[in-house]
Symmetry: D2
Subunit: 345 residues, 4 copies
């Protein structure tokens, strides 16, 4: 058993980490850190955790690091690097769910997140935890930077096409739709029920911080610098994410070729499902699961393909992938603690 | 005052037509036809119509056509042409909200809708009622084929770019999101609250009947045959539609050029609003209104632009535009009966 | 034309007041006060107000009171009395939508709202604006205290029974359900979309500030001090309120007697609808309307009746009734500016 | 391991049974019966069951009963008794989730459900599976009639008060709120997303079939015939149920007495939680769990208490309690296969 502390445990991502780790056979939660709610039970913040044996929420300074094997940091960016820099040597493994160690370039980080990175040497050392891409680098990794939810959903949909050079890198258009839990458990007028329900809108258009993260990973996969079109939309649903990607096939590649490439690439992936031809996946059918479902459709425009990928933003898009990554750092079965049946309706 | 009969009055589109026409100063509803619910009050089907003076729902055969000036047909495709062919000479004006007279090519109609068109001569005679495009042809028109909701939303977003040859016609990608009222008031397992709420999915991918309608209209605007990418998504909201279109600027055209073209083109349009730069319109802010809001964003990929257009699928996407068109056939002010404040929240 | 200033115009209640007054033929909005958003257009806060001619949002100190005939105060309690006390003599009429002038007893006010009332003399002078009860006192009234949404919905359902002494005052149980707009446009974790959607809960059980307000009004109607059971629930909907009241008939009164009493009492009320026997009203069918629908059902328990009343919490439950009251203070038709068709779906 | 066949597996209740039994350590699903969808995979109907090893959906006539130990019947009433009568002797245990064996009086059954019961002798033999009430009778039971969702939620909230004669049986008022999954996966206009979302309404007022079921059970607990007030409401949420019950304390019983009675009664119940004083449970915090949360509040009216009970209608209200009951028939730990963390948000 490994002893885990969850930082930022009071947000939605933290709650999903607690939910999943509570059912993990080899991880024991020994600390829940949430600076604004110390001293209270977790159940008082998340009444769904009834009768689950969990530590009282504590302050970071009250953690005794001698027994801690791993931290899962669900802190916001900025806060996460601050804590991680201070306890880096005290723990074996750090699974960071924030944006703090995803980007390799400190200048890009500063540009996007508005603050100088205080721990830039570790940007290079971190392993980008898009599991299906970086699986081999995860064994023994000390610092894993888990991807954002949008990059996870989008990149899994594109991965075989990118790895196999099957598409034109200058023509990648990602139209993404996310549930409201992705905004975090924040007090904000714009997150009021009445501001989100019964309507739809795009936001951070051509300007979302996850776009450069997607581009960096595409560069890491293909060796080429690219720009992608990326437009997120907020949908009146709690969990779930759909990325509809429009891609142009490389010369000589057909839709059926691409389908075969996807089948081959994903056939052994435990958490990626290629839908049968003609089936469009619903985000509501994978809630709470670590599964990513992917569908390929031939576009009306010759030479183009529509790729649909759906995940649960809090699970595969965050805490589920984090655990998947931690399993790999330890050499455990990748699926440990992550097999469940999604609940519908 | 003109006397109107509304066919297919019992569906959501019909109900929106009744709501809007009830407030129209020059149209009087003298017949509500709904074959499955004859003999009952409209309020019994739509309790929101409390205390509104409306005819009892009747069968088509009970209509006395001598006093009817106009019919608004909210029947499903197929049923609509059947009725229209039988009463064509009895009325002055026919505003068809179904798909029956939108397409000019009877073979395409048959291919898409699965039945031979019974009234093909009139396909050519009908005026396609995308008001902002075909306004001049509407005065005196006898048969107006109102566009589908998706074509309305998508085409309004593209119209100035198409008219001005500012974009590459081979690179038009439309990702659309619709509320559930667009499905109609049907009994269907797949429309059950629990099948639509708390999730999102694409449907009819690369295969939706509105794609050829969009293409036909682009051809009519530009003179060129095109194929567009069109992917609709169902969103857990009642009303509203968002079309996010990705377009490539023609050589020599800049984003600011395009912005100027849009400003000029729409500045006198009563129902089209170009948002200030940086503002993303929400579908929830135009519910019940005939307004289409449009925003232009420069893409991360040089030379591409993201166009967002939002409408209420039942209003501008259907019954509102139908009335706007009828106003024009009569030479009335286009906005008659259509000025209201959208209700939010 | 009367010139109106709307205080607290930036909340949901304020927005509903602006929406309704914008369509009122005898009221002109000359000031919109919202201290935290001064200097911006109303459309920037509420994009549904596109192209509506409205003043820029200003600070209270920038209002020139010489031309103001009426203020509609949508401020929170406490803030409302503060402003009203300072401008009381500057305007002809004050329609207060807050809780500040509803209760007649300053001690009860202080107990419930936690602050000493600064303007207690005016508690007595204010007219409690439950229109259907106090209609006769409204003509010429200077200060109208509009009821809370829950009291409006509950009391309208009970009014004929109370006035006619048809029910046992010791057995009044009100189970109420409200949409989320009733919470106001506040930044709060507990109002986050994900905290309200896809679930239901009771709150302020036996402890809600509207219960003493209901009791005070029952005392004013019947002359007897009472305690009622009142339990509000938050429902994942934007607008709408349902009060399900359980009452015991007085000795000798039958269900059919009560039905007759309700029919007689409401037959001339422009905004109260008694449903036909067996029909249960939906809140979704009166959204945006000033109508209250009421249904009476004979309980399984002999001698008890179930009364269901539904309103739109922002309209009849707040801004609509406020305008109805103002119409009456001026001797205008009560329905002026308030006749519309509710939008569904 | 016991071999189970699930009848009516294609509805929401059936799907919840499949979900829960799939994770049960001692039950093996060997048949899924759904007459309208035979020959297809369960995943094709419920895509959330990805990669779960389940039988193809078959017709009842294709079941080989020799190896079947238990059937869980999720069929509608009427259909359930028909199948059960035909295979009664072929299986060891029958857990019926329909209404067919809940009522002891065949005349009442016929009155409420409109058909003569074809198997009336077995009405008496069935054990009413309100587990917390009838636990001792379940060991070895052959035919268990699982309660309806409303009776489960309501009666658990009342159970200690009824058993201890702490309340006046003539003053029990139950105001219940249910999510839409309780309606079943049916094609119906009235279940369309737009007919349920963004609104609330009561239905089957004073007339719901679950009221007599509640009354029968109260009689079985207390020995006295009673009538209760019971009013269900449909709420725009998928899962979840809240019963708000208003009860009058018996002479000499105080609120604190009742609280103590509840604490004592429930302290060893694995699935019933008495909330700390002042806490109101949310249905959204127990989704997918077999837990019933109960809260007691002192009413404003002296001598009355408000009891709030919440369950997931598909779990404790249906399939979860069914498994809890089956566990007890076999002498297994009651909680087997039913311990999980509810997912929120």
């Amino acid at each position: 058993m490994k002893n885990a502390v969850i930082l930022g445990a009071t947000g939605y991502t933290g709650a999903e980490a607690v939910r999943l780790i509570s059912g993990h056979p080899k991880i024991n939660i020994i600390g829940l850190v949430g600076n604004t709610s110390t001293g209270v039970t977790y159940e008082s913040l998340y009444p769904n955790f009834h009768n689950i044996d969990l530590p009282i929420i504590s302050s970071i300074k009250d953690i005794d690091w001698t027994n801690v094997d791993v931290i899962f940091s669900c802190l916001p960016h900025g806060a996460s690097q601050e804590v991680i820099s201070s306890i880096y040597d005290s723990v074996d493994t750090i699974i960071d769910l924030s944006a703090d160690f995803r980007l390799k370039d400190p200048d890009l980080y500063q540009y996007l997140y508005g603050e100088k990175h205080i721990f830039p040497d570790y940007l290079k050392k971190s392993i980008y935890g898009l599991t299906e891409f970086n699986r081999k680098k995860l064994l023994g990794a000390k610092l894993v930077a888990c991807p954002g939810c949008y990059p996870t959903c989008s990149l899994l949909g594109l991965l075989p096409a990118l790895e196999s050079s099957s598409i034109d890198l200058d023509n990648i258009i990602i139209d993404a739709k996310s549930g409201a839990s992705g905004t975090g458990r924040k007090a904000s007028k714009s997150l009021h029920f009445s501001e989100i329900s019964d309507g739809c809108h795009a936001y951070s258009i051509a300007n979302h911080r996850h776009a450069p993260e997607i581009e960096q990973t595409i560069e890491n996969i293909t060796g080429r610098k690219v720009k992608v079109s990326f437009t997120p939309h907020l949908i009146p649903m709690n969990r779930g994410m759909v990325a509809t990607s429009y891609v142009k096939l490389a010369d000589g590649v057909t839709y059926q070729d691409l389908r075969q490439i996807y089948q081959d690439r994903f056939k052994n992936e435990p958490f990626v499902v290629l839908e049968n031809q003609g089936i469009s996946p619903h985000s509501r059918h994978i809630k709470g699961s670590n599964i990513c479902k992917i569908a390929l459709f031939e576009d009306r425009r010759p030479g183009w393909v529509i790729i649909i990928s759906v995940i649960d933003n809090l699970t595969k898009g965050s805490a589920g992938q984090a655990i998947q990554n931690y399993n790999l750092t330890q050499g455990w079965a990748e699926t440990l603690g992550l097999i469940n049946i999604s609940m519908f309706p």
